[in-house]
């Protein structure tokens, strides 16, 4: 089992990166990227969100789009870096959703069939209470390749 590091591409995204590098067909060609919050560490080969433990939508949680705040990068450097440009905020929660420890960039706004793309270990775990919102800083989520 490959140990996970923050900002690591998941197996699905590694395959897409190689397909792009060699000009192979990408399907889908584009998608909107959403950031999910997890309560347990993922494994690098986890293909979809069916294998992860995510905050429950019964708490008013919903995945937030990376795209609405935009991306910074990918940078013209080696290694190349991409990160979120805007602040990402969840909630307000209608009940306590538990403690999140990881984030996961995925390719669908909801559902367990979403493909896992990039995993992020949160610098600090967070346990929001009822009525709270949860904010992640701009540039808080970076991935390097």
């Amino acid at each position: 089992m490959t140990a996970m590091t923050s900002g690591a591409l998941m197996e699905y995204a590694e395959k897409r990166a190689l397909q792009a590098a060699f000009g192979l067909t990408l399907s889908p060609a584009t998608f909107t990227s959403y950031l999910a919050l997890l309560t347990a560490a993922p494994t690098q080969t986890d293909g979809t969100m069916a294998l992860e433990t995510e905050f429950n939508t019964s708490t008013a949680y919903a995945r937030v789009s990376f795209a609405t705040g935009g991306f910074t990068g990918p940078s013209s450097a080696s290694p190349s870096v991409i990160s979120n440009t805007g602040v990402i905020t969840y909630g307000p929660f209608t009940s306590a959703p538990g403690t999140c420890t990881w984030g996961m960039a995925v390719d669908a706004s909801s559902g367990t069939s979403a493909n896992n793309c990039v995993a992020y270990l949160l610098a600090n775990s967070r346990t929001p209470l009822t009525g709270d919102s949860l904010t992640a800083a701009a540039a808080g989520f970076s991935a390097t390749i």
Binding site: S58, S65, S110, G111, S133
Partner: protein
């Protein structure tokens, strides 16, 4: 964001404030700043694939884009549909 609904609370409470008070909790000031205030215009942007709950897109007081899933009954009771402009000649 094409607004489709407006959050409306009979006592003017924010969405988070309403639920916090129902849990006997006073919402801290910094959380009130991030709350969905009474009168916030939202877009019914999505439906959660697993639970069927409506997901609304909205902007908080700082202008940051937000997405929140709503209990269907609470949505019916507290989110008023907004009149859509009729097309010309209709």
């Amino acid at each position: 964001m094409p607004a489709t609904h407006r959050y409306s609370h009979p006592e003017g409470k924010g969405f988070g404030q309403h639920h916090a008070e129902a849990s006997q909790r006073e919402l801290p000031a910094e959380m009130r700043d991030l709350d969905m205030a009474d009168g916030t215009e939202v877009e019914h942007a999505d439906t959660d694939e697993d639970s069927g709950r409506p997901i609304v897109a909205w902007a908080d007081a700082s202008g940051n884009p937000r997405r929140t899933s709503i209990d269907p009954e609470f949505f019916r009771e507290h989110f008023e549909p907004m009149a859509q402009d009729a097309p010309e000649g209709a």
